[in-house]
């Protein structure tokens, strides 16, 4: 079984942050699998395949969700809790990517079932280093893959 490059769904309301992440992904040659949504409701719609997100060729189910905590409409904790309650998404790999390094936030995220917690790096270089690290990890690991994910092919 060959696992192609993992799909990363970035949830961040900051366009700047999202753009920087995209640039960094591009720089390390990994731009294609990155999908970006801007708030909590949108990520739920994406996962549910609601509306335009129904096109799984264009919006494939992600291998990992990079979830910001401070989100409009529905914050990261609520999204995480929702994901863990959905039978079809409860095993989805969710990494928190937040500016907060407060113990309370970290603890709550893990309590709600986050798979990891990353603090947003302060500089571009650090972000690049983190991204490379993350992608290397995603390539190495075995993640839960939903059945209908078209990006998974068998050899």
């Amino acid at each position: 079984m060959l696992i192609e490059d993992p799909i990363v769904l970035l949830v961040d309301d900051s366009e700047d942050d999202a753009l920087l992440v995209r640039r960094v992904f591009e720089r390390v040659g990994f731009a294609a699998p990155l999908r970006i949504v801007g708030d909590g409701e949108e990520v739920i719609a994406y996962l549910n395949g609601a509306g335009a997100f129904g096109d799984r060729a264009k919006f494939p189910l992600p291998t990992v969700v990079l979830l910001d905590l401070n989100l409009p409409r529905k914050n990261g904790f609520a999204v995480l809790a929702w994901i863990r309650q959905q039978p079809e998404h409860k095993r989805l790999c969710v990494y928190i990517l937040s500016a907060s390094s407060q113990a309370d936030d970290i603890q709550q995220a893990y309590d709600l079932g986050a798979n990891s917690y990353l603090v947003k790096p302060g500089t571009l270089d650090e972000l690049a280093a983190m991204t490379q690290c993350l992608l290397a990890w995603l390539r190495l690991g075995h993640f839960y893959v939903p059945e209908d994910n078209p990006s998974i092919t068998t050899a």
Binding site: D16, D17, L20, A99, S100, Q102, G122, T123, L124, L127
Partner: protein, 558 residues
């Protein structure tokens, strides 16, 4: 026949006065007096001598037995009178004469200082028909004797009275003198009789109340002064009669209608038999004092109220300040946090500009992009340190007993890179006592001090850092000593303030390290300080509570 004469009073106090003896001598009634138990004749008057056919010379000094060797029938009665002091009358019938005559002996005692001295005997010889007259005479004689005695008594009384009057005059003079002295008193001094009528009214009273002595005398004091009692008058009277004293406050009204507060001292005067006769009252006007006391009380109450209000205000303000301080720190924290987001973008895009568009940019443009990148990075460091500082001041601190050796070990292992980079030598010498501290905070504090020791070095001098502990009375002092730049005494206090840097530009950093040290130590109930001479290194110290063996376990400090 013997009769007791009960109507004649006892002559207890009578002695034999000259005048009395003279009266007896000239009495027309035959009378003689005998003395002592042998009844020796002391005196026999002329009438008696005639009757008994004796001369005074014959009879005086003789006993009755000498005078009449034959038996005297009435000697028994005489003995009784002498012995008992009770007068008696004895009548004998002389039957051999015609007509029959009756000898009547009327006997009454003569006393001296309550002791029987003798007996006075009056002899009357009568016929039966004369009996009535004799009895009347007898009564007359006894009456006259009584009269005489009364006269004597009254004379004595008169003398006493004269003496008393003389004495009273002296007393009155003394009283007048005393009254004159009392008049000098500015206190009102009043004497009342038992019906509270004013009997004396000194000048002080005149001046104080406005009534002259003659106006006041004889008036009822409480009516004149329209007294308001602070306790029931019955109680006052009862206490006065029980203890002879009473002191208290009353309100009186002056002649002009002004009400005045008086401190009244009453003393009860009694006569020899203990019967109350007068009340001496001494009164002081305490209106001003009462007013002053009331004002003082009032002022004290107001002061206490003010103090209470102030205290409440201080408590409230302190609570408000604490709350607003916490609020501010929370705001600082969230601001620092939020400011980092746009900053990340600034730094990120500036870095992208440098990296990706460097060929399209001029030298100046690249420099600008680089400066934006550097400033953004420095600002991020500032915000990061501000976050660390506010976290130190806001986080929950729990003191536990910690091994200093372990904590120092942790610090050094975390700083291995810096130590190696700085080519530094770090000496740690035990012994390491245990302290009461919050482990993450203590690690942060010692890391910051060690980092400073490694950072502020003299050019060309390899850094030498020494960490050691010193046991004190109730605390443990940890020294972090270096051979670096040292700090001028002028700056030794201000370096502990947030974002204070002495060598801006030459050494990296934001100036938050020592502020975090101080805040952390403060939160753990310790102290921090520095000893330094510029050019000779610095010796920073922190003091923490010593771990007491019995005190192992958690202790909250919030």
């Amino acid at each position: 026949m013997t009769t007791k004469i009960l109507s004649i009073p006892a002559y207890q106090t009578l002695d034999l006065s000259r005048s009395w003896l003279a009266t007896v001598e000239h009495s027309p009634l035959p009378t003689f007096m005998v003395e002592g138990p042998t009844h020796t004749v002391r005196q026999m008057n002329a009438a008696c001598c005639q009757l008994l056919e004796k001369t005074p010379v014959e009879s005086t000094g003789k006993t009755l037995g000498d005078l009449w060797p034959e038996q005297i029938h009435w000697v028994g009665a005489l003995d009784r009178v002498y012995r008992t002091g009770q007068p008696e009358c004895h009548t004998e019938e002389q039957a051999f004469t015609r007509p029959t005559v009756f000898w009547t002996y009327t006997m009454w005692p003569v006393m001296a200082q309550d002791q029987p001295l003798g007996v006075m005997i009056q002899v009357v010889v009568t016929t039966r028909q004369q009996q009535q007259t004799v009895a009347m005479n007898e009564a007359l004689v006894l009456g006259s004797v009584h009269q005489h005695e009364l006269t004597e008594a009254s004379e004595r009384l008169n003398t006493q009275l004269r003496e008393e009057i003389a004495g009273r005059l002296t007393m009155q003079q003394a009283l007048a003198e005393k009254a004159r002295l009392l008049d000098l008193s500015t206190d009102a001094i009043v004497v009342l009789d038992c019906e509270h009528r004013i009997r004396y009214w000194n000048r002080g009273a005149e001046e104080l109340y406005g009534w002259s002595g003659p106006e006041a005398l004889g008036k009822l004091s409480y009516e004149l002064l329209r007294t308001s009692f602070t306790q029931p008058i019955d109680q006052i009277t009862e206490e006065l009669h029980r203890t002879n004293h009473w002191t208290g406050v009353m309100t009186h009204t002056k002649r002009d209608g002004q009400r005045i507060s008086m401190l009244v001292r009453k003393v009860l005067d009694r006569d020899n038999q203990g019967k109350p006769v007068a009340i001496l009252e001494s009164m002081t006007d305490i209106t001003e004092r009462t007013k002053a006391e009331a004002a003082l009380r009032d002022a004290r109450t107001r002061l206490a109220e003010h103090a209470g209000q102030l205290e409440g205000l201080v408590t409230k303000r302190t609570a408000e300040l604490t709350a607003s301080n916490q609020q501010l720190e929370a705001i600082v924290y969230s601001m620092a946090h939020d400011l980092r987001a746009p900053l990340r973008s600034m730094q990120g895009f500036a870095a992208l500009l440098v990296d990706e568009a460097s060929t399209a940019l001029s030298e100046n443009g690249r420099d600008c992009a680089h400066r934006i990148d550097q400033s953004a990075q420095f600002m991020d460091a500032l915000l990061s340190d501000l976050l660390a500082y506010t976290r130190t001041s806001q986080q929950h601190i729990e003191l536990t007993t910690l091994s200093l050796e372990k904590v120092v070990g942790t610090v050094l292992s975390r700083m291995q890179k810096e130590i190696a980079n700085g080519n530094a030598c770090v000496e740690c010498s035990g012994p390491w006592p245990e302290v009461r501290a919050h482990e993450p905070t203590l690690i942060q504090v010692l890391s910051n001090l060690t980092a400073n020791a490694l950072k502020f070095v003299r050019p060309g001098v390899p850094p030498l850092v020494r960490i050691r502990a010193e046991e004190r009375a109730v605390s443990i002092r940890v020294w972090v000593e270096d051979n670096g730049l040292g700090i001028s005494p002028d700056y030794q206090q201000q370096i502990f303030r947030l974002f204070i840097r002495l060598d801006r530009g030459k050494y990296p950093g934001t100036g938050a390290g020592l502020a975090i040290v101080q805040k952390g130590i403060e939160r753990m109930g310790g102290r921090v300080g520095v000893e330094s001479t510029p050019g000779q290194g610095s010796r920073f110290w922190i003091e923490l509570p010593k771990a007491v063996p019995a005190e192992r376990g958690a202790h909250h400090v919030d």
